[in-house]
């Protein structure tokens, strides 16, 4: 995995985590408008970056579009990546 790909992957991991952290907070604070705005903004950023990453480096999940042949099995497994 190139340095460039790894940096992009780590950014994606961070956004994914931020979405989770905000949603966990919202589960017990559903009326917090600021957290909800942050959540929605982060979700959009995450989705854009994920689409960009998958287009460049291949699928991260079975619901990602793939080139021929099926690329899902070829992208790196999380425990095998040198972070």
């Amino acid at each position: 995995m190139t340095r460039e790909q790894l940096e992009m992957l780590k950014e994606l991991m961070a956004l994914d985590f931020y979405v989770l952290e905000l949603s966990l907070f919202l589960n017990t604070h559903p009326n917090n408008r600021q957290a909800l705005e942050d959540h929605n903004m982060t979700v959009r950023k995450y989705q854009d970056l994920k689409m960009d990453y998958v287009r460049r480096y291949g699928p991260l999940c079975i619901g990602c579009v793939s080139e021929y042949p099926w690329q899902y099995i070829e992208t790196a497994w999380p425990w095998e990546i040198e972070y």
């Binding site: 992957l9 991991m13 966990l24 604070h29 559903p30 999940c61 999380p78 425990w79 990546i81 972070y83």
Partner: protein, 193 residues
């Protein structure tokens, strides 16, 4: 349902092989207060818990614990990867090798297999949420012992992240307990005991 993503929740970077540390990390892979216990506990407790906040919290924290379980698996894999059998034997992992080869198995740091009796699931939401508050503190304490046992900056960094998550989960379960108590006092007053 669950969807798998080929990403970790937090990066795992180890600076060298360390079989002894791998052995200790099994405490959180398949021990009493492990991520496996946490995930199965919360996901099992969801069905009869009152309030939507509580259902969401159990579902989401339970799911996050499975992501942590994968981080532990990754740590153990990276600390063990590429070493000869003799090294496993020297580090006290010979018995593990005899039964599983180099692959992982959900047992604790002493090799005791994971069992569902580590967890409890009650209909009573007060009992359930108190169990979870205790579980988060026990997991936090275990991470602190593991951090004390490690001298690898990468391992310590990942363990510190996991420790911090237990603190956040404790906080969220505390808020959930307040919400459920409120519900029981105001709306769900009738109880069958």
């Amino acid at each position: 349902m669950w969807n798998y993503e080929k990403i970790l929740q937090y990066p795992v970077k180890v600076s060298k092989n360390d079989l002894e540390m791998a052995k200790y990390l099994y405490a959180q892979y398949g021990g009493p207060d492990s991520e496996l216990s946490a995930g199965i506990r919360y996901l099992t407790q969801r069905y009869f818990i009152p309030t939507d906040e509580a259902k969401a919290t159990l579902t989401e924290i339970g799911t996050e614990e499975l992501a942590h379980w994968e981080i532990l698996g990754t740590l153990i894999y990276k600390l063990t990867e590429g070493l000869p059998v003799q090294a496993l034997r020297d580090a006290g992992l010979g018995a593990h090798y005899a039964q599983h080869g180099k692959n992982l198995y959900p047992h604790d740091a002493a090799g005791v297999p994971w069992t569902a009796s580590y967890i409890q699931s009650h209909e009573d939401p007060i009992a359930t949420l108190h169990e979870n508050l205790a579980a988060e503190q026990k997991a936090r304490a275990t991470y602190e012992y593991l951090i004390n046992l490690s001298n690898d900056a990468g391992v310590i960094d990942t363990l510190s992240f996991l420790r911090e998550r237990e603190v956040v989960h404790f906080q969220r379960f505390g808020e959930t307990l307040d919400i459920v108590r409120d519900y029981l006092e105001n709306e769900g007053g009738r109880r069958d005991y």
